[in-house]
Amino acid sequence: MLELRGVRLPMGAETPISLEFETGSITAIIGPSGSGKSLLLAAVARRFSPPGEILIAGRSLSGITQKEYPLYVSYFDGSTPADFGETLHDFLLLARAHMKRFLHPFGEHHLQAADSAIEAFDLDEYRSRVFCTLPSDALRRALIALSVLRDSELLLMDDPVAGLGIHSMGIVQRALARHTMGGDRTVLFASGDLSFAAQTADRILVMEDGAVVEDIAPESLDADIIRRYFRTEVLVSRNIYNGRPEVHFFPGT
């Protein structure tokens, strides 16, 4: 689905990034602050053009037209539109703008898709509320819902669960699993929450100074790796249901 060939981020890492991402997979990028997680996502989202080649579905990123782009990529960067005065439902409907004909109204199936997203992200009580008046947790969920609702082949998310409560984290985790369930949608997200990354992803990339230094299965995330790259002592336990790592801080350290 996504292929990076010799991509060099501006940190000046010696080894360029060359990776392949399978269709239907969920990949998490972790790493200390400034390691290049967000930059890598921004490069795939065409926010800037680093040296190297990025291919999506076999096509060069630079060869994809502006009109085609939302069919391939949806990017959640966490930015909140200021003072947006539409209702939540109308806001979510805008995610489907690239699927309707210019100057034509949204079809019934788009309305239903927006309804389904409201239900999936547990936003029913805010359906008719003006978007900019939503509580911060619901607002972030709505922004994530918008990027999922675009239904692009590749979903990029920069720290999707930052500032979210435990209820919302569960919702986002289930939504991402559902999004990739059909096997034709791929998710790549950066996260500062290592437990969320380990619980949600099928694959974890660890970044440092603009390079991918570890490419591991979530089960392999352990205290040594975290100590090496994050310079933090942690305790890693296993989730009793799926055996995946859960990261805990030592009290007082």
Binding site: Y69, Y75, F84, G85
Partner: protein, 287 residues
């Protein structure tokens, strides 16, 4: 129901205007002015609120100065009517693209431009005995206030406005996306630069139509109902439009009775107070 009341009020306002001796052309001029105000509000709703209206952003003052200066060079009214939209579009591009003024800077620039307009206007009124006060009155209240009897001009403007209105209704989702910002608009596969250029042209065109048709009373945008939303029903849209028409006719009546040189500054102050009362915290967050 709301549409019915608003339409009845607008009709009553038109009848009153005609009853005090104004020509049907004057009523039609103001109907076109009200319509242009309404559409300008629609276009401005694509930006984050508060969007300083065309009085307080200084657009009206700038274009008025352009009209005063260009009438010295061109004797033809049609030439002036053609020049003003071009200058309005250039003004939009200069302030939004080149200077990229935020709302606070727009308001400060607006105050400066309004002062700049007030000084030559007052100078010409008091110091120059040849200056025609009727011309200034026409500038403030539009052609209707200046009793221009030609009915064909507003009749020609209204179809243009209907076309813009139709387009704005159909393009409501795209305009809403544009208001979300570049990343959202481009994320939907549309060209942000091209859309913004078109929007600036439309805003300049509507500003010039509003000033040429309704004069400074076009500040009705500021106190009118906010025409925001992607799914505005036709009834609500017509109701809002009828309110604008009603409002424009009431302003015409007031200017007929009290004189536009008195009403326009009063209107400017009232709308300014409303604007700053509503938006003080947003424009000057640390005030």
């Amino acid at each position: 129901m709301a549409f019915g009341f608003a339409l009845a009020a607008a009709t009553a306002a038109v009848c009153t205007v005609l009853a005090v001796g104004k020509s049907p052309a004057a009523a039609l001029w103001y109907a076109a002015g009200g319509y242009a105000c309404f559409l300008l509000g629609r276009i401005d709703a694509t930006g984050p609120p508060p969007a300083p209206d065309y009085l307080h952003s200084g657009r009206a003052a700038f274009l008025s100065l352009c009209i005063i200066i260009s009438t010295r060079f061109f004797s033809s009214t049609i030439a002036v009517f053609c020049l003003v939209p071009v200058l309005a579009v250039l003004f939009e591009f200069y302030t939004r693209r080149f200077l990229t003024l935020g709302r606070r800077d727009t308001v400060l620039a607006g105050i400066a431009l309004n002062l700049l307009f007030a000084v030559p206007a007052l100078f010409m009124l008091s110091a120059d005995p040849r200056f025609d006060t009727a011309a200034l009155s026409g500038l403030l209240s539009g052609p209707a206030g200046a009793s221009i009897g030609a009915i064909y001009a507003p009749a020609a403007v209204i179809p243009v406005l209907v076309a813009i209105h139709f387009f704005a209704r159909r393009a409501a989702p795209e305009l809403a996306l544009l208001s979300l910002g570049r990343s959202y608009f481009q994320g939907a596969g549309m060209n942000h630069e091209r859309a913004r250029t078109a929007l600036l042209c439309a805003r300049g065109l509507l500003t010039s139509i509003t000033l040429l048709v309704a004069g400074w009373f076009g500040g009705a945008v500021l106190v009118g109902p906010a025409p925001r939303g992607t799914k505005i029903g036709i009834a609500r849209d017509l109701s809002t439009l009828a309110q604008y028409l009603c409002f424009a006719q009431i302003l015409l009546l007031a200017s007929s009775l009290a004189g536009s040189i008195f009403i326009a500054p009063l209107w400017f102050v009232v709308t300014g107070v409303v604007f700053f009362h509503k938006n003080m915290r947003r424009i000057f967050p640390h005030a």
